[in-house]
Amino acid sequence: MKNVFRIAGLVGLFVMAGTSVLMAAGGAASPEAISFLSWCAMAAGIGIGIAAVGTGIGQGFGVRGACEGISRNPEASGKIITALILGLAMMESLAIYALVVELILLYANPFIKYVIAA
């Protein structure tokens, strides 16, 4: 749950920061440019949101398994925690892939040169 909040907060920050892309385009951006960039911003936000949902659920399952394992066998907690951290990082990386796509969409958009003519 906290993971969802954290990534949703990241999304909000990035979407707000993405408006700087619009401002960098110069004051008079054409309507096509504004429409394209706002679709990009929305795609970025929704993409990260969906990634956050999947990550949150998957990591929740992982932590549940780890807690049950530790409760059954407290002596093996070292190995269980190692496996847990590794699994969490692997699942986190899927959300990070979505984050990287969102960063590309907002900051290094390869199609922006077709839209911002000047």
Partner: protein, 247 residues
Amino acid sequence: MEHGFLWLNFITGPLTEYFNNLFKPFVAAHPGAAFFFKDSNMYNQVVYMWLYMLFLIVIGFLATRAIKMVPGILQNFMEVVVEGLRDLLHDNMGEHGMIFFPLIATIAVFIFTANMAGIIPGFFSPTANMNTNAAMAIVVFLLTHVVGIRIHGFKYLKQFMGPVWWMAPIMIPIELIGHLARPLSLTMRLFGNIAGEDLVLGVLLLLVPYVVPLPFLALMIFTSVLQSFVFSLLAMMYISGAMEEAH
């Protein structure tokens, strides 16, 4: 991406200018190459990587200069680090995997230093740039295959064909993509985490610079430590996976 004020800007600025001037005739002859040269501080990650290399080499030299039976402060700290990494390697790779200890420990310590230094204002993490991460990931990837072929001979390549021989046309693309996804995922995981935390801090300082960044700084420290641990752990698991059948 601009990075604002960094301490070594006086080195990276002239270095970038020097290299851009050096490549001017090349860019004039090949106009598409201007895409690679338009960043004003594109050698940030190289210069900061040198800085952290220098730092680690100096620390290593100072720690091993006069080794005593009852260690001093620096030697004690480095012993904890080295023994912790050694135990981790021993648990995951066994005794015959200890030959890879220098590589894995260097990767772990360097990524840890590089990640943590990005939190300090004015320093830049070279791991926030995809080139550094890709270099380390490609080294680990090539090492796994070299180790596999050295230990098993060319029978190592038979694992790409799957459990039965007639499934080979299906299994080979799947195994290839799975293997090529490893350096990609190593790179992107580290890059996304560290560059993401840089961006979050930047945006947050733009909005509320006073007390709110503190939990985010704690989160940054946590993810920095975790990502260095995960990179080295995954490297260990890939290498031990390539070694496993013979031993």
